[in-house]
């Protein structure tokens, strides 16, 4: 039963000698064995390597060592480099790629004693909102396997929600941590841009990407963020801001904390059950002593258009490296250009092709000013909206997603409809903020609903404080899908 534990519960038992890391790791591996053929959260698992790490952790503990996550099994999205393990970004184009080094966040996890295991399913190159764009097949929502788990970090959310691991890492470019966390009923935190190193994270949109934790409660999110945050001289966008003690923020005290509700987020298309659940969550925070007021983010309606220009432009440049020369699968051609074309045509899935072509288009001569430069300017306006709002409030609350999880296949043929489902999560990345999604209820059909809180740059302590206080007053985070 150790797989059901949170990080702090497991650590307590490990420290008391009631449980070994090997037992906990084996419990996770058994759980994967039992449920993952239905869920497809994992692309692969190296059980022998996981157990070897667990044994090493048990030996360290027996020798008197203690570390922040010693012996805790953490699974990893297939977009982060783990030395000597495969890395595919859920794409065919990387072939048999095997990472020659550890990402900085993986090094930090190892230094904290964690057992790093598994390659978690995702939308190919983190492009998607449903995990349907995976060359390894879609991951499925543990609450209803006919439904999507969200994306792009679908596998990371499923693995935590279905107790196949104790916690996991994902990445968030426009909502890819918060959205699947909401749809699967777990906690997902996107740190401020620059808070966590991107070294060893395969780049999608470099000015938006950020690594973050998926956990079973807010305390765990604070613990895991503490481990992975901090400056890194191998990532020049990492901000050398001191890392505060995040668990110190979990005081349960929200008296006087000012929470803003954006007028513009009351959009058509918001599901009434989602609205009711998030309204109730805000009321709950108010009853705990937070001050709630309406705010305005006037450029909200431009966020999705801005995002899909900037993110695809950056992606088209970042994914130029997959050309069949340095890594992955290659299709032969008479000359290098033909080889590139064939390799990329066969290796990339359709959504990735769509985005690379769109990104190439908006950057190409004659269109650059009209699309890309204009989008960068609108990004400034969106960012200014938030900075102005944060003069009046400490946090911004909204639903994480406009609807609960939709059915697999429902939006596949309509990319624009899929993009529009990112409305509440996307601005956070454009503005360089931090955000968290916490469970705040269920639809009548039994699907989870998430409350999103956004904080100012490096405002993670306030985010965690409010999310934790809410969690203490409710029990949504303790619900588990029935997979027996």
């Amino acid at each position: 039963m150790a797989h059901f534990l949170t990080i702090h519960q497991l650590l307590e038992q490990l420290r008391a000698g009631e449980l070994s890391s090997r037992e906990a790791t084996q419990a996770c591996l058994d759980r994967v064995e039992k449920v993952d053929d239905r869920l497809n959260a994992f692309i692969s698992v190296d059980a022998a390597d996981a157990l070897a790490q667990a044994d090493a952790a048990d030996q360290s503990r027996a020798a008197g060592e203690d570390l922040p996550m010693l012996g805790v099994p953490v699974a990893v999205k297939d977009v982060l480099a783990v030395k000597d393990q495969p890395l595919n970004c859920a794409s065919k184009i990387l072939g048999e790629f095997n990472s020659p080094y550890d990402a900085t966040v993986i090094q930090k996890l190892r230094a904290a004693g964690a057992v790093v295991f598994g390659r978690l399913n995702m939308d190919e190159f983190a492009m998607g909102s449903s995990n349907e764009n995976s060359a390894f097949g879609p991951a499925r929502n543990p609450w209803n396997t006919d439904c999507i788990p969200g994306g792009s970090s679908g596998g990371s959310a499923v693995a935590v929600a279905a107790d196949e691991c104790i916690a996991s890492l994902g990445s968030d470019t426009g909502g890819s941590i918060r959205q699947p966390a909401a749809l699967c009923g777990c906690v997902g935190l996107k740190p401020t841009y620059g808070r966590v190193s991107r070294y060893g994270l395969v780049a999608f949109a470099s000015s938006l990407d950020q690594v973050g934790p998926f956990t079973k409660d807010v305390r765990d999110a604070a613990t895991l963020l503490q481990v992975i945050a901090g400056s890194d001289d191998r990532d020049s966008t990492n901000v050398p801001e001191p890392v505060p003690d995040y668990s110190a923020a979990l005081s349960g005290e929200v008296k006087g904390l000012r929470i803003g509700l954006p007028r513009e987020y009351q959009v058509q298309g918001m599901d009434p059950e989602v609205k009711a659940a998030t309204d109730a969550a805000v009321k709950q925070l108010e009853s705990l002593g937070a001050e709630v007021k309406e705010i305005s983010l006037p450029h909200t309606e431009y966020a999705i258009a801005t995002y899909y220009i900037i993110a695809t432009a950056e992606a088209s440049a970042n994914l130029a490296r997959f050309e069949g020369v340095r890594y992955g699968a290659r299709l032969d051609g008479a000359d290098p250009e033909e080889m590139n074309r064939k390799t990329r045509g066969a290796g990339f899935g359709e959504e990735v092709k769509r985005r690379i072509i769109l990104g190439t288009y908006v950057l190409s001569s004659g269109y650059y000013d009209a699309y890309y430069l204009r989008a960068q300017k609108v990004r400034t306006l969106i960012r200014q909206d938030f900075l102005k709002a944060f003069e009046e409030v400490d946090l911004i609350a909204s639903p994480t997603t406009p609807t609960p999880a939709f059915k697999i296949g429902e939006k596949v043929g309509d990319p624009l409809q899929m993009y529009l489902s990112d409305i509440y999560t996307i601005s956070c990345n454009l503005a360089g903020l931090c955000g968290i999604s916490v469970p705040c209820g269920f639809s009548e059909a039994g699907l989870p609903i998430g409350l999103q809180l956004l904080g100012k740059p490096f405002g993670e302590p306030d985010l965690l404080r409010a999310a934790h206080a809410y969690e203490q007053a409710t029990d949504w985070h303790t619900h588990r899908p029935n997979l027996d």
Binding site: K353, I357, L358, Q376, P415
Partner: protein
């Protein structure tokens, strides 16, 4: 709105099947039409944002450091010879 994909597809070096081209053109056209929305705004006095952080250039001393060995750097390449990446012939 149908988008003329040919130039971007060529620049992106992605071979599309005729079926893919038929599917992608209207889909991308629709997305491009949607992003036209940004033309509603007057941005003439607005500075562009490339990054949301206040950082400018981050420098370090130009000193050699440990890096991947040649063998490690080549180990995932589809074709190598004599410590080099092999590509199709460029010059006749």
């Amino acid at each position: 709105m149908e988008m003329d994909l040919s130039r971007a597809v060529k620049l992106a070096r992605i071979e599309l099947t005729p079926e893919e081209e038929q599917r992608l053109a209207p889909q991308l056209g629709e997305v491009l039409q949607y992003v036209e929305k940004l033309n509603e705004l007057d941005v003439s006095d607005v500075e562009p944002t490339a990054h949301a952080t206040p950082l400018s250039n981050v420098m370090r001393e130009d000193e050699p450091r440990e890096s991947l060995s040649q063998e490690e750097a080549l180990r995932n390449a589809p074709k190598t010879a004599n410590g080099l990446f092999v590509v199709p012939k460029i010059v006749e």
